[in-house]
Every structure is written in C-alpha cells, then in structure tokens.
Amino acid sequence: MPVLTQTLVLTRLAFLGIAQRKWSALVLIISVACVIAVLLSMLSVTAGMLRAYRSGEDPQQAVVLPEEGARRAHAIPTNIIGTILDAPGIARSADGHPLADGEFQIWVPPMGPYALGSPNLRGIGPVGFALRPNLKIIAGRSFRSGRHEVILGVAAARTFQLRIGDAILLAGGPWPIVGMFTDDGSMLESETLSDTDTLIADRQTNGYDSIVVKLQTPAAFDNFARWIAINPSLMQIAVRQSDYAELTANRNSAFFTALAYAVAAMMALGAVFGTVKLMYAAVSVRTRELATLRAIGYQPLPVALSVLIETVVLALFGALAGVVAAWLLFNGKHVVQARNVFDLSISLRLVALGIAWAVALALLGGLPPAIRAARRSVNDALRAV
C-alpha cells in the first residue's frame, strides 16, 4: 500500500515542520474555533430547550393532540376522554384506573407591572402526578381539586418573582399560590399548576389541550396511535412524548435555529476563504520539500492527501477550542424565552455537529491547495526555489 505509507510519511513531515508555520496554523485553528463557537452557542438554545422539554421523558408515554388544522386552544372536547380511555394498550394503576390525564393550558396575565411577565398555568388531573414521577412539592402543599389554588414551579418563582402566599389573577378572581414544586429541571418548572376540572369550570369552556397517556409497553404505541387515528368519533392524533417534545422545541426555536445556521454559514464561508489562503501559503513554503519528495518518487495523491489531512487535523483542534469556548460561556446558563425558562445546553449532538462542520470546512478549504500541491510540476517547483 504505497499510497497509504507515503501519505503517512508526508503527513508526519508536514506536522514536524509545522513549528515554522505556527502562526498560520494558529490562525486557522482560531478561525475554525470562532465559527464553531458561534454555531454552537446559538444552537445551545435549541438544545437546551429540547432537553428541558424531554426531561423526565418516558418511552411508555404518548400525547393525544387535536388533528393538524384543528390546533386551537382547548380543542379536545372533555366528553371524549371516555372514548380515548377505551383505546388498547393504556396502562392501569394499581387500583385499576387507566393512566390517562387531560391537560389544559392558559396564559396568565401579569400580576404586577407588565414588564415582569407571567407564567403559563397548566391544569392537570388526579393521574397527572402519577404520570410525572419527578414532580415533587418542595414547599407548602399541593392544590386541592375544586378549589381555586395553584402550585408554582421553582423556575417560575425565580423568573416572575412569585412566592407562596401570592395569588395569580384569572377572570373569575384570584387563585392563591399554595405550594412550590420541582420537576428535575423540566420545562414544567417554569409553569404554575392547578386542577384541570376546576380550571375548565372556571373558564366556562369544555375542552382539553392535550391528553397524556401511559402505555403498557413502548411497543404498544403503534396500535394505540392507529386506534386513535381511525376512530371516526375522534378528531385527534397520538404522538410519542419524545416526538411531541421535539416538535414543541423546534416550533419554539425555529427562528433562532434558522438564524444560527445562516450566521454560521456566512462565517464558515469567510473561514473557508481564509483556510484556502493559509494552506496555499503553507504549501508554497514547502515547495522545495514537496518537490524533492516528488523527485525521489512520492506520488501526487499522497501529497494531496497529506495537505488535506493537515487541514482537517488543524480544523479539528479549532472545533475542539470552539466547543470548549461555547461550553464554558453558555452551558447551563439560564434563559427565559417567552414564558419558558430553561438552561442552555451544549449537547453531545451539538459537539458532533460542530466537528462535522469543522471537517467539512477543512475539506472545502484544503482541497484547492491540496490539488495545487499535487499538480505542481517537479521541474518548475525545483527551479522556483
């Protein structure tokens, strides 16, 4: 395998001589690091949001939603829950009750000055706590069914400056906050919770926004979803909890994600031009060395490959620096987006994405210099020095 051996030798030579070109190499590394850091720092919003939505995810859970096109507030009539409970595959509690819970969401107008903002209010039913095993009351007590009471997520308390004893104001009057809860860092912590039926009665409406269902096994989902979809009396669809989380996170961050890619693409284009320039210079500095190697029998392909490998390796160092910078600056930082509170996250998926971008950038930027290095005539090259 002469090509492989030659490539290895040439790559080794390239890195042995890199000390002479240390500044160019450093510029390449930092350029790539800038691109990757910007890309990851912006995408950390999407990743963080997704993590918060998926926290406490259970593969056995599914969410029933109104059909596409019928998505408006409270669109699932309360009287169809009986039909949905008949669906196959729903798990049952120890006392034989099906594990399904209708949920209801509304926006709460701000209590103080408008600028303070206000949390969402979610109604959950008696099974709601069983479906959310991470949900823990950390102060006060839980709300009671039939009473105008709410409990407050820790992130909502922090962001909207609310505490036990305060009240949120709905159309029918104040609903006192009687307790505070955590939910393992999920998006639920930025909301307030109350009893669904009490809330629906107060709002004089008769619809849920979604129904959360626990299935006997994760595999039972397909059958359950088909049953919901083909039942002529239902205008709903079922999605896996994980898909629902992804859908919601993507919808809420679509604008920012698109902007992140647009900005990073422009920066990457600049970095590609820079890389081509730097690698042209690197190849040109090594003209004599490469020409001599070609003269003693090294083939053009290994020469080109060694240039590409050098570029990719430098870009990988850049990606690493970018990932570390983005992680140090942004990972775990609290953000409030609309009424959602969550932590930014540089996930493993993002790290992989950053590395993929760096490699792609290096291949694009390294290719023209690699071709030039390989195609240069040995005679001309030796004469030029």
Partner: protein, 440 residues
Amino acid sequence: MPARSNGRGRYQDSLTEQRRDRAGDEHAGNDGKRSGVKYWPLVWSALWRKPAESILVWLAVTVSFALFGLMVGLHATYDQLITNSRLDRLYVNARFPSANPSSANPTGILLPFSLRDAIMRIDGVTAVSAEYFVRGYYRDPHIRAAVDAVDEYMPAAWPELPLTPAQWEQLHATPNGVFVTHSWAQALGLKAGDTLPIITSTAFTPPGMGSRADGAPAWQFHVLGEMPNMKGGLHDYLILGNLGFVDNSRPPDLRGYAWEYRVAVRDATQASQIAVRIDQATTNSGTPTLTIPDKIAEADGVNSGISVAAKTWPIAGAGLFMILLLTGNGIAQSVRERTSEFAVLKTLGYRQSGLMALVFAEAAIPCLAGAAIGMGLAVLMTRLPFRYLPADLASLPQPALSLGVLSVSLGCALLLALAGAAIPMQRLRHMSVTDTLAGR
C-alpha cells in the same frame, strides 16, 4: 508559479521607476506633492505579489464584513425599536383572552367600541383610537400581510403616521381604501389604483377574527396610494385601512368591536399610573383590560424572546476577530518575505514613516475594499424580498444599514488594518539595514 514571478518582476520594475522618479523629484524640488503617486505603484505591486492569496484574503474580509454589517444593522434595528417606542403611548388589550365567547366578548379577545369613551374619560388621556387587524396573506400563503384598520381618532393617538391630512380624509372617505408604506409597495409591486386582496384563515388569525358577513375568506382592498416609511425603520410594512369599512363587513353579531386601543397620554411620566387606572376602570366590566406601555412592550418583544439583539455584537466581533488574525498573518508573512526589499528602499532614502505607510496601505486596502463591498452585499441582502428568505426567518426585522452603520464598519476596517499591520510595522522599525542587506 508564474503569477508569483510576474508579480516580483512587476515589483522590481516599479522599484526602478521609483528610483528614477525620486532622482527627478529631487531636482524639481517637489518631493511632497508626488509622494502619494510615487508610493502607489509600490503598494499596488505588493498587493499583487501573490494574487491568489490577496484575492482570498479580500474575499474572506468581504464575507465577514457582510455578516458584520447585517449584525450591526440588526442590532441598530432592535435598538431603534426600543428607542422609537414612546413612553407616552399605551396599548389596551383584553386581559383574559379566552377561547370561549361570551355575550360581552363574542370572540373572547375583542373589546367593545363603547370602551373608547370610558378610556377617554380617564384623566391624562389625550386621545384614544380603535384598531382592528385583518390578517392573512396576499397571493401566496408565504406572503403574510395585515391591514391595520383604524378609526378617525388615529391621527391624534398616533401622530407619527406618515399620512397628510388630505390622505387621512381620502382614507376615511373611501370605505375599502388603504395606504401602503413604500417598503410594502415595493415588495408587493403595488401602486395606486391596484386591488389588494387579503385572504384570511385561522392559520393567521384566531377563529372568527377574520370572518366577513358574506362568509368569503378574501377581503378586497383598494390601494389609494403609497405613504413614506416611518422614521427609524419601525412599521416599514404597514397597511392602513378604514375601521368603519372593516367593521361593517363583519358578521352582524361581531360588529362594534376593536382588536386593541391605542392611547396617547399627556405626560409620559404618568403613563404607568394611567395604565393602572384604565385597567382598574374595566376590572368589573365584561371585558377587563390589560394596558401595556409601548416602550415596555417593545423592550419585552426584543428581550423576552431568545434575545437575538444580545447575540449580534458577539457574532459581529467573532467574525472580525477571525479576519483580524487572517489579515495580520497575511501582512506579517508578506513583510517577512520582503525584508530585503524594504532594506533596499531604506537604503534609497525612503523615510521610516513612508515605509510604515506602505505596510499600512497594504493592510488597509483589502480591508477597506472588503468592508465597502461587504456592506454593499449586506444592503443587497436586506433588500432581498421576503419570499427568498427561509420561512423560519420571516419574523426577522430588517437590519437598518444607515450611514452610521456604514461608517462604523469602515472605521472598524481601518482599525483592523492598523491592528493587523502593527506587529509587522514594529518589526520593520527595528530592522537593521546593513544586517538585512548582508543577508544576516
């Protein structure tokens, strides 16, 4: 590499020329006058010494400045949104928007026209105007458009609107007439006399809010003319219509309602108290209100989402930093490779400052050219019609590329060149002519 040897040849030619010029100048005694002209061939040949690398650096600078321009422009837009929003303006909305209609509020969101008088009676309020939005799309569901139907009190409640008294009169005299801002007219290709159909659907507006008495989904408006864009880039895409016409076209049981009220107050310092007073006055009515000061609403809109505004400077900075290193590295390399040439120039009597200027010009020319062309690209990109943007970016406000932004970027380009050329210039200053010429 033929390009390189040509470049060097040209460089040496120009050196010889310089020498000849210099000799002539000394006799003529007008050294200063022609020095700029004398240096130019030197700079030019230095730039084209390695054409491929120069062009690549210039391309990288151009792309980075296009990004810089867009980011700084975007930041300026967000800033303007907040500064231009006024402390003496309030918006009145339904406090408990709900999906369930009641007799007091048939869509759960609207406010009755009678509320106007109630708000007007509150002390400190100078004008109250009702507005209703017909939201939908024009021709293509991707081209969203909304007609802001206003009543005759709007000129008092929102005096910055760019309509002349005659145009206001025309608007209220023509039931289905609309005035379109310059930007919208350009984007949609509209002119006076055109018909502007807005097709509503529940995808754009809550159920019942866009409906007409005749059940048709399309609202036919008649373009009366163009109005200038408002100052500061706010409301560039505004279509002003006639509330009377819109209200009369709604189903009979849904007539007599406003989407929101716009309130002007006499004293900006009292705005927050007046907002509270308006809400208190409606607490026990069928439609309790939520009054929002304009400035807070704008600041909230800019900052409460994922703050794009806060991200623009770091991104612009990261782009420039990248370019700084690249140009700095390029100049350093170029000076290093031409040390002997600089030594020759020094020997010939070129002043230290002249050589510094030479190096600086070599850095500054691609930076300035890149900044100018990059900003031009950025301006072109902001002119890109909405339909070419990814759908997810449709809500991005248009970056404001004012002369201020342009001069900031040209200034940044000069600073960049200075910073990039600093180290090579320093090296040149300490260069020993004899050592260099001797090849030591």
